[in-house]
Homo-oligomer: 446 residues x 4
Amino acid sequence: MARAAHERAFSPPQQPQSPDISDALSARLFATRGLSLELAAPLSAEDMAAQAMEDASPTKWHLAHVTWFFETFVLKPHLPGYRLFDEAFNFCFNSYYEAMGARQPRPARGLLTRPSAARVMDYRAHVDEALERLAERGFETGSDLARLIEIGINHEQQHQELLLSDILALFAVNPLRPAYREGRARTSLSAVGEPSETCGSAAAGWISYDGGLVKIGHAGNGYAWDNESPRHDALVRPFRLADRLVTNGEWLDFMGDGGYRTASVWLADGWAKVNAAGWRAPRYWEEHGNGWHMMTLDGLLPLETAAPVCHVSYYEADAFARWAGFRLPTEFEWELAGATLPVEGNTLGTRALRPVPAGARGEASPRQMFGDVWEWTQSAYLPYPGYRPPEGAIGEYNGKFMVSQQVLRGASCATPDGHSRATYRNFFYPHQRWQFAGVRLAAEVS
Amino acid sequence: MARAAHERAFSPPQQPQSPDISDALSARLFATRGLSLELAAPLSAEDMAAQAMEDASPTKWHLAHVTWFFETFVLKPHLPGYRLFDEAFNFCFNSYYEAMGARQPRPARGLLTRPSAARVMDYRAHVDEALERLAERGFETGSDLARLIEIGINHEQQHQELLLSDILALFAVNPLRPAYREGRARTSLSAVGEPSETCGSAAAGWISYDGGLVKIGHAGNGYAWDNESPRHDALVRPFRLADRLVTNGEWLDFMGDGGYRTASVWLADGWAKVNAAGWRAPRYWEEHGNGWHMMTLDGLLPLETAAPVCHVSYYEADAFARWAGFRLPTEFEWELAGATLPVEGNTLGTRALRPVPAGARGEASPRQMFGDVWEWTQSAYLPYPGYRPPEGAIGEYNGKFMVSQQVLRGASCATPDGHSRATYRNFFYPHQRWQFAGVRLAAEVS
Amino acid sequence: MARAAHERAFSPPQQPQSPDISDALSARLFATRGLSLELAAPLSAEDMAAQAMEDASPTKWHLAHVTWFFETFVLKPHLPGYRLFDEAFNFCFNSYYEAMGARQPRPARGLLTRPSAARVMDYRAHVDEALERLAERGFETGSDLARLIEIGINHEQQHQELLLSDILALFAVNPLRPAYREGRARTSLSAVGEPSETCGSAAAGWISYDGGLVKIGHAGNGYAWDNESPRHDALVRPFRLADRLVTNGEWLDFMGDGGYRTASVWLADGWAKVNAAGWRAPRYWEEHGNGWHMMTLDGLLPLETAAPVCHVSYYEADAFARWAGFRLPTEFEWELAGATLPVEGNTLGTRALRPVPAGARGEASPRQMFGDVWEWTQSAYLPYPGYRPPEGAIGEYNGKFMVSQQVLRGASCATPDGHSRATYRNFFYPHQRWQFAGVRLAAEVS
Amino acid sequence: MARAAHERAFSPPQQPQSPDISDALSARLFATRGLSLELAAPLSAEDMAAQAMEDASPTKWHLAHVTWFFETFVLKPHLPGYRLFDEAFNFCFNSYYEAMGARQPRPARGLLTRPSAARVMDYRAHVDEALERLAERGFETGSDLARLIEIGINHEQQHQELLLSDILALFAVNPLRPAYREGRARTSLSAVGEPSETCGSAAAGWISYDGGLVKIGHAGNGYAWDNESPRHDALVRPFRLADRLVTNGEWLDFMGDGGYRTASVWLADGWAKVNAAGWRAPRYWEEHGNGWHMMTLDGLLPLETAAPVCHVSYYEADAFARWAGFRLPTEFEWELAGATLPVEGNTLGTRALRPVPAGARGEASPRQMFGDVWEWTQSAYLPYPGYRPPEGAIGEYNGKFMVSQQVLRGASCATPDGHSRATYRNFFYPHQRWQFAGVRLAAEVS
């Protein structure tokens, strides 16, 4: 889902307009490949093989699938003499590319105890070694090959975020509630940069925007997914945006006010889901004798009231907003606000691995826009005017999901650094909760 | 779903701006009430009690539910001394108004053999008699009461269309394939007004539109649903619209070209549905030894190639458009085109009860815009900027469905006359096929 | 399900060994045909068309199916020149006879609003008229035709019981809780013959039996189903049988003692079902402010503590017996006890239409053996040694259900008179509760 | 499921009546514990963690559960000062003992990536060490402790068979079709002892039995499960039994004759299942270009026509028998025949790990009775007369499954040696196919 761009790490010095871009691209390629291994390092082979639920995939599958992507779309067509690691892997690790043939059914990915994690690591090494050979020749800026490498990097970054979401989903149903990461002091985290625990619980402020006829979509420099194009004019009415995310403490107020039992604040589909699934709190919240806790990648922790609420569905985000007397932003409003801000925040690079309270309020700009949690918008995930998916199997992606899903904007604490930008469009079904997704409120100008 | 407005039947002479509007409103009220009985007349009590599937409702339920609506929202609060017909009916015939209490579960509506159809008819007579008493006092223009009467009329009109869709669904699974309407010559129908059978099979033409900053939404005179407001500016790029609907003959081409077996033209959700449900043609199409037939309200008829395709899902509409090299229109494009046209076509008033071939091509304006079939758009069903649902139970409607559905525009052969306008927003889930829904193509300006 | 025998109505005077048996057989044939109409008389066409659940069938379907049976197996082969009423009925009203071709899917029987109830009545009249012509020639004793007539009678009797069970299931989910039969004083009923309300609540007595090598199965005089044969020796150990059925009062004790929440008394499958379905009382029991009630064919009545418990599954019957420190009888024990008793009790003929308290205890013989409720046994429904199903479509019945079901013995308040005998084997799945089924306890000899 | 007995390994010399039985019991205890490790040895930690389907369990779970059994029922009550390995394991590795508290839901056993396989091995070592301390004091014959040790051994043996069945189910859905055991020559296997490949394909012979009043059930010396008691008289009619199992070749004949498409040979439930699940061959059969193959613990092998058919459901076994003009034996017939035979055959000890062709026909006794495949009988799994489950949690087993299942007799190629006897009652649901289960025909005496 999430996919990315001309990020901080890829700022002007590393992105010269010379034809010799290949070094930076190579560096990013292998840094990305390495990060996947780092993320998998705390996990056992068993952890890597299990599939928490149909929406999720095993770590091993993620590691192999992104590798299969490089093998299939980069090495096979572009590295003469490349030897396929294993013919059978096309069946095992294709995800949904219909054009690339039959594949392991998604709900049965957790049954792939073979190939082993060790063999998947061999697969990665085999492919990395071939990528290194390819890189030695350099990637010419603007070439098809450079474009494919870039796609492969961004694709792997998306799966890095999913890997973390999926591991959390797995450990959250384990009766031992294991921590993905051990040895981390289980204390409250405060905002990156400017710790200020009390700030988070202060009332949110509002930033006003004039709107108007604005440019939406990716401008063309740096990487972007196809669904961020074409850049086009859009009309945005004046609006206000909360200057921080909705917090766990505010969510407790919603719950305390009977939010999960009040039909009138819910969409009809949401109300049906609440009742069918028995939702009464965000996913991963657990009430114990000593209060509410939340399952995190550091294990089960007491709920931090000042931290942003996370792991809520669109239905819940929308109901909360209605209960609070506000609404969710549209994706255009969000992009307009985000376009002027530095792309920085609590993303994977901070290694917080969970959303943290907002830092001190500064000037009139919203906090927590890039990082902490993806932000549900009231915009359905649809093509931009004039959108055309790329040709071929590689284009078999963003376009085919353009129905019944909602757009999320920003980035989360599990989003790899360099994989965020104001035009980025993430998308999930309105009932899904296992992602690091939360809520920012919007309102009309009063 | 479908709901309606200041329509032809409700044109200036019947809608003076004087305070004495009540006569016209009364006339429309009782005409509408009478039409429901006319539509039910060919059906037996057994037919009226059965529920074809969970999406559908029994005729009897429709007849009683719209009556319950008048009783609950009009008579109880506005007719002093009104005696409830039967306390138990609130449970039986409430649909989804959470604010109005518990109700019969939707999937079990077909088990309501009691109250009987005869008693439901008594219920209607009881309520109509009370409405007549109320009407004697006159409905003051602009009053709350006039507004409620108007809502009740439009609400009943929506159910009239559903009644026909649901009866077709019921008869289509009956091994006898009964005709809703007997004695009608089962010959091909041509376009209303100007019969011209050959025209329908001629290639569609294209109408170009400049777009620009246009007004979208209801202007405020005449009836409209809340979801058509607020009227607001929208930016529409230049586009082209097909001057007629996609035909059955063109759909046969799609099928013949393997359309239902070609993953690349489908949305991912659509492809999953095609395979899970085994779709290989529109709903109600049946292949017999002597070719394709289609189940209609006149029974099983040979497929008319020149008639518009009907009973297709959004998934199919979208796949067809992609296969054909075009796309579906947005709802704004549709509205822009429709706003300049007379609201007329093959709606319920023609009593064709199925879509008919397009008439002769005239000037540069699209044909079949209001009538024949609802037209799937690529727009998700979302609130307009600044939308607020009305307060109270009566507002518990359009707003709560604003997720995961697609907008359809126009009207169908089952839409009551006077229930159409260019701003009308109908909506269904992308997999639903039992409505009279079809396809009009759009394209960028080349 | 239930099927029938050498019953009271078919006792020696009516069953001479002369070749001229045809009069009695004719009389029984038309009495049975008439009884079906009588049972359907209180129902509207709507009531007759609805299917309460997948296990049940619409009244109209029962009425037509038994008629189809006579048409297919009796009239077509045996009445020269017989004209089929309607070719399509073979599809509509075949139940499961694979040999007789395709048929309406069982779960969609409630969608058969056509043919109408009126037309089904015409069908019955058409077939009855033909049966009368056939009867005029007389049915020769022992002939194939007489055998088929006998099967048809017994088959229709089975469906008469199902008709009542299915109507009760339908009315029990109707929010109006309609009474099948109006105008009946809703007072407690006492035992047929000897009213004695207090007796029912007295402790049950025990009858001891020596067991030994006993004859089991039908002896060959009078009608019996194939599954009652061959008659064979069986070894039965000494046992005791309760002299009356378990009562509602005793069931309240079980519930009060946490019976539905105590895993240790349940079979594993039963415990899973209790939790999945949320069972906490017998089907049709409802707790209201003023105590427990029970839905019956006379509508919702206060629970009679002295009446036999009814509408319980095998799982519940077995759990109750274990909780009480006893067990269910085997079908052989039951037959041994029943073989010596007159076949009489609270069956359909009494028109009580629900189980009634046991009469006064008499000599050392069990009460309520034939009537009130079918009695679950701990015997699985399996073939007797040497069992062979009859050849042809007509034999496609009892044999094909011989797996996963339990045998019930006796008869119920909905069993037609003349359709009971000690060797009769009824059978249902262990989770089914909509039949008139209850519990008699058994024990080892202490 | 499978459970065990006074087997060869436990014959008189090893079973003196002296009070000093403990040595033999200890030896068997640790041999059994060791065999589990041997069976798991070829598997990776990933293999051990996955759950092929809801009916199956992960290897790791089996290894831990049987260990939990010893810890809970033997060590906690009988070894003073025993330290629980991990409190949380009671939740993780309890199976269904309601009396022992809450537990991991069965369908989610495959999500237990923690505790790791390594930690489960530590658990085993911890418990084994404690068992050794306990064993040093000796197990007094006839003591409660000796009885519990015996149960624990037999319980672990059952899970050894399940471990193999479940691993086969897992590897059969892996696209790589891995072999559980590598390096084994993939040649045809012939009967244990007397190789004779042609014999297997010769027509089966028939052995006749007189029947009569026979003793059924366990006689009391050696171990047996509660469900084999009480030993009691049963009446068995004269019958014949096939002298070998039905072969794959014969099953191909059944398939070739349209067996899976012929409704008349199937039980109604079986026919529904065949159609719903799309069965057209036994589980694990695959048709490839070069003919039928079968997935085995040695990987995918060409089908051996002379080997016994395996992995068929009761429905299929019953349908085959009817198609062939015979029937399945009752469990009493089987026991009568088996009681006179030596308990030997192709069980786990041969390490064939799949059924093999019958050896040469010898004297008039059936071959392949103990080993190769469990044999479906036409007997439902029910209590013997006078059966009472043991008190307490330990008795929460065989009795609670006595509904809706069928008895299988004999033993399979995956049954541990020493875990078979003529009175052994295995049981499964009639649709289950993943066990090593096959067919032996029976018939009346002609």
